[in-house]
């Protein structure tokens, strides 16, 4: 409370200062004066070149250092200092009188709604959306860029879920990248934070399916966090204090006219705060923790760009929860997760001339995953070396050729002490099951190559492509043909379509001779997309898409080798996306997805609702900038409740003194938790000091009408069921500084 009062006092004090645009110095003498003014941006202290100072009928223009030298005729003279994008300042000469030098700070201008900020677009794809960090800063609480992927069409949502389910495909069926460096996930396990802070990012690319041939080993979607690729003009430091979640610092430094270095580090505070604030009699101890670091060394020298990137992230979760199955004295069960990865990659992009470009990113990645539940544990370690390389040749105005290759070497070690699953035993209970205690190392290579061609005929552009690949985990090679097309109906509307085949290799444990089935092939998916993209003036744009996806040779548990490639899943639906383009004042979008997802374990089995089926997902996100200081935002989310398989009955297991549930296996996922909705409100206030800015963000997350349910829970004998409430509304405060 004391901290909050201090912050409010600080803010009040700051409000009284915002009109003071210049630094006062000692009073001068009473004769005409020559003075050197330096015009600077308030909040950063950055020099404003080409700023103008009007003195009577004369106009003086600032040099690249923001300096203007002029003669003040008398103390009664009035100076007007202005620059586009900043509020004009009127300065009385008497306030400068007697000084040789003075600094004048200009406040950022009032938000302008007349200018649409254009964000760049990359190689066009049918189902890809690019959101710039400028945009994510406006609608994501805390400004976290990757959060916006959960607001886009095609992305399913569940309370507390930090992984990404795209068009009915599980999180492991999608791929995540930081530039061209593949990472196992893009979110931390808490606070919906992405692993790379906003300051390091330029944009987020999101493909909900039917992506191009440059991406493979995925049947879901692709998310790419694009890091900054511009040399900064001057050093910049930012820090963030987010209560109660984390503390972070970022520094960016130009090293020369062609190179720069950026470093960021974030660490959670939850592990320090939670044990102190959780009620002692709660019985449960929950300690989540995380950190991430990101280093970017950028060199842009003519036609060659080098970007050396180091990214690392660790998430931990430790739970001590009361359990009737505990063998501890305090009646609790210990659950621990740890997830760590690090990657280093050197991206080289070069214009080779004659229409040729290439980009290559050799990279080395490591990961560790630890999971302990009571006396069982799982430990995975892996190393990967990969070198994706793509050449692009612009053949002429209407045609471009893409050629790529990605060799990859992997080494994965799995150590586990786990119950041996026996799905054919109706009395199976993990507590009573045999334990498998083993360690295995898998070394395998993957190689893929692709080619695509943009072919333009008038208003029609077709992009046929082919991806060939081989994994040592799978017998034989694979070939995925894909075709994308765009047809401009007029200057405002574009018809888009895509059709293609997508493949994903089984995981090492699934194809292992020890744990699984070495004869498993690639999971396959055929995807079809048809969409219409429309522009409504320069402010609004919309897009509707229909999609159909069939996944076959789906790996399901069962059979003599634990896994068999007999399953199928179909997903179909439609997405709508209405976006109000970014202006300084207003930005927002509405996205809606309708989808159905069904699955079967073999061709002989009936179709049933898939675990990822979510009929309706609606997101509304918006931000309105009231002034140079105040920004208000909201996010509203609604989705159909998650599906689950209800318990039909339960029997008393006399061996273990507990009840064993019997699930309604004939109707898997036939029940749903109640539909979910929540409203997040947030406000941002920028306090500009001469050479630094403090940004205060307040917000409240998870506002709702009625109880928000995250799952269902049964009592000890499965005779009663109750909805488990999700998090209550959580207020938060974030203070960040930039200097």
């Amino acid at each position: 409370m004391r901290i909050l009062l201090l912050l409010i006092l600080g803010l009040t004090f700051d409000l009284t200062r915002v009109g003071q645009g210049f630094a006062e110095e000692a009073a001068g003498a009473n004769a005409p004066q020559i003075i050197e003014l330096q015009i600077l941006a308030k909040g950063t202290g950055r020099a404003l070149k080409r700023a103008e100072v009007k003195l009577g009928t004369e106009v003086f223009t600032a040099d690249p250092e923001g300096r203007v030298r002029l003669s003040l005729p008398s103390p009664e003279a009035l100076l007007e200092v202005q620059r586009a994008g900043y509020e004009a300042q009127f300065v009385q000469a008497k306030d400068l009188w007697g000084k040789d030098k003075a600094s004048i700070y200009l406040l950022p201008g009032k938000p302008d709604d007349s200018e649409v900020i254009i964000t760049g677009s990359r190689r066009p794809e049918v189902s890809r959306k690019t959101v710039s960090v400028k945009e994510t800063n406006r609608i994501a609480p805390g400004g976290d860029p990757a959060q916006v992927t959960q607001l886009l069409p095609g992305v399913q949502s569940s309370p507390g879920r930090t992984d990404v389910v795209i068009r009915g495909s599980g999180p492991n069926d999608s791929r995540y990248f930081v530039d061209d460096i593949e990472v196992p996930s893009i979110f931390h396990n808490v606070a919906n934070l992405s692993i790379v802070p906003a300051q390091q990012l330029n944009s987020v690319d999101f493909s909900s399916g039917a992506f191009g041939v440059q991406y493979g080993d995925a049947t879901g979607g692709i998310i790419v966090l694009r890091s900054v690729d511009q040399i900064p003009e001057q050093p910049r430091t930012e820090w963030v204090l987010n209560v109660p979640f984390y503390l972070g610092i970022f520094h960016e430094q130009p090293l020369s006219a062609t190179s720069s270095l950026a470093v960021s580090l974030r660490h959670s505070m939850l592990e320090a705060i939670l044990p102190k604030v959780l009620p002692k009699d709660l019985g449960a101890t929950v300690v989540p923790s995380f950190y991430d670091s990101f280093v970017r060394y950028l060199v842009k020298d003519g036609d060659i760009t080098h970007k050396l990137t180091l990214v690392s992230s660790r998430d931990g979760l430790s739970l001590l929860v009361p359990s009737a199955n505990s063998e501890r004295e305090d009646g609790r069960v210990n659950v621990e997760f740890q997830n760590y990865f690090a990657a280093v990659g050197l991206e080289r992009e070069q214009n080779l001339g004659d229409g040729w470009r290439y980009r290559s990113t050799p990279q080395f990645r490591v990961f560790r995953l630890k999971a302990n539940f009571a006396n069982d544990n799982l430990y995975l370690r892996g190393r990967t070396f990969a070198a994706p390389t793509e050449f692009t040749k612009r053949l002429d105005r209407n045609r471009s050729l893409y050629l790529g290759v990605k060799p990859e070497w992997n080494r994965v070690r799995i150590s586990a002490k786990l119950p041996v699953l026996n799905t054919s035993d109706p009395y199976f209970d993990p507590e009573d099951a045999q334990r498998l205690e083993d360690s295995r190392t898998y070394t395998y290579g993957n190689v893929s190559a692709w080619s695509a061609l943009d072919l333009g005929w008038g208003d029609l552009v077709l992009t046929p492509g082919l991806r060939v690949f081989q994994s040592q985990l799978v017998p034989g090679q694979g070939v995925d043909p894909r075709l994308q097309g765009r047809y401009a109906l007029d200057s405002e509307q574009q018809l888009k379509f895509a059709v293609g085949q997508y493949s994903i290799a089984p995981e090492p444990a699934e194809s292992s001779r020890k744990f699984g089935n070495p004869d498993l092939g690639y999971e396959k998916s055929n995807q079809y997309v048809l969409g219409l993209e429309s522009k409504w003036g320069d402010r609004w744009q919309s897009e509707v898409q229909g999609f159909y996806k069939k996944i076959y040779k789906l790996i399901v548990a069962g059979g003599p080798d634990n896994f068999q490639a007999t399953g199928s899943r179909i997903v179909y639906g439609a997405e709508a996306f209405v976006r109000r383009n970014l202006t300084e004042k207003f930005f927002g979008w509405l996205s809606y997805t309708y989808s159905k997802s069904e699955e079967r374990k073999s061709d002989a089995d009936p179709w049933y609702r898939s675990s990822f089926d979510q009929t309706h997902v609606l997101n509304l996100a918006g931000s309105y900038k009231l002034s140079a200081f105040w920004d208000l935002g909201l996010r509203f989310k609604y989705n159909t409740g998650d599906a689950y398989t209800p318990v039909e009955s339960a029997s008393y297991n006399a061996n273990l003194d507990k009840y064993s549930p019997s699930y309604d296996e004939k109707n898997p996922y036939s029940a749903r938790i109640p539909d979910f909705h929540s409203l997040d409100l947030f406000a941002t206030y920028d306090a500009f000091y001469d050479r630094f800015t403090l940004k205060y963000q307040w917000g409240i997350q998870y506002l709702s009408l009625g109880k928000r349910v995250s799952s269902v829970s049964y009592n000890y004998d499965y005779s009663q069921k109750e909805n488990v409430a999700n998090l209550p509304p959580i207020p938060y405060l974030q203070i960040s500084g930039e200097f």
Partner: protein, 254 residues
């Protein structure tokens, strides 16, 4: 596989914490609490392991609120599944009721004759030389309104000298409090476990009323709801031998 394992882990957490609705240890309604196989008639008797061709006796214990006389038990054929053989010849015997303060303890007796080695060979030639087989039993408890299936299994041997045949946890009892003891509002329950072979065992405490700190602990605290006379029941199971023991204490709180 990783996906499935993580899913199991993720599901295990809420399942492990699913005790908020009601508690297993109290006698708020009738509930099965133990099945013993070849239990000792007298504490001084010697344990007789189930042997092929011999008769085996099972006792199903049910904790119930006082006056639950309508409760019946019948044999229910268990599902076929590969690791155990269904016990085909099980027949229900007598039902006895022991009344304790605040709770009844019902005991249903059933007997079966295990198939001989010869019969097993005739059933399946691969079983002709078996030294150890697991037999699965099933009961159905019902009071006319609610039914609860009960299932479990036990090992049977071709001879009493087969390694493991004599393993048992019989003789386990409650060391604290003493029977009929006068106590405070918080009682320490403590088991004296007989586990000469050091097998994995599982303790389960049941009480007529009140709250237990950890019903799985060898020693735990029992908070009484007020003054009165209460009953505590301890069950212990050997996870390998499938032998089990039950002990009862009544106490008085001022």
């Amino acid at each position: 596989m990783l996906k499935e394992l993580l899913l199991v882990f993720a599901l295990a957490v809420p399942l492990a914490c699913s005790d908020s609705l009601s508690r297993q240890e109290t006698a708020d309604k009738w509930k099965p609490i133990l099945v013993t196989v070849n239990e000792l008639a007298q504490p001084t008797d010697v344990y007789q392991a189930p042997l092929f061709g011999n008769q085996v006796s099972l006792h199903l214990y049910v904790l119930a609120p006082s006056d639950s006389s309508d409760l019946t038990a019948e044999v229910q054929a268990p599902d076929q599944q590969p690791l155990t053989l269904p016990l085909q010849t099980l027949e229900m015997g007598e039902k006895t009721v022991s009344s304790y303060p605040g709770v009844d303890l019902l005991k249903f007796t059933a007997v079966a004759r295990l198939p001989s080695q010869t019969n097993l060979g005739a059933l399946d030639p691969s079983l002709a030389e078996a030294q150890l087989l697991r037999f699965r039993y099933g009961f159905l408890l019902s009071d006319g309104q609610r039914t609860v299936p009960v299932t479990g299994d036990f090992p049977a041997y071709s001879g009493a000298d087969i390694p493991g045949a004599q393993w048992n946890v019989l003789g386990s009892t409650i060391s604290s409090p003493e029977d009929q003891a006068e106590t405070g509002q918080t009682v320490t329950l403590e088991a004296d476990l007989a586990n000469p072979q050091g097998e994995a065992i599982k303790v389960g405490w049941y009480v007529s009323a009140g709250e237990l700190k950890n019903r799985r602990a060898e020693s735990t605290e029992w908070t009484l709801p007020g003054s009165g006379t209460y009953t505590a029941i301890m069950t212990v199971r050997g996870k390998q031998s499938r032998t089990a023991q039950l002990a009862v204490r009544t106490i008085k709180a001022p």
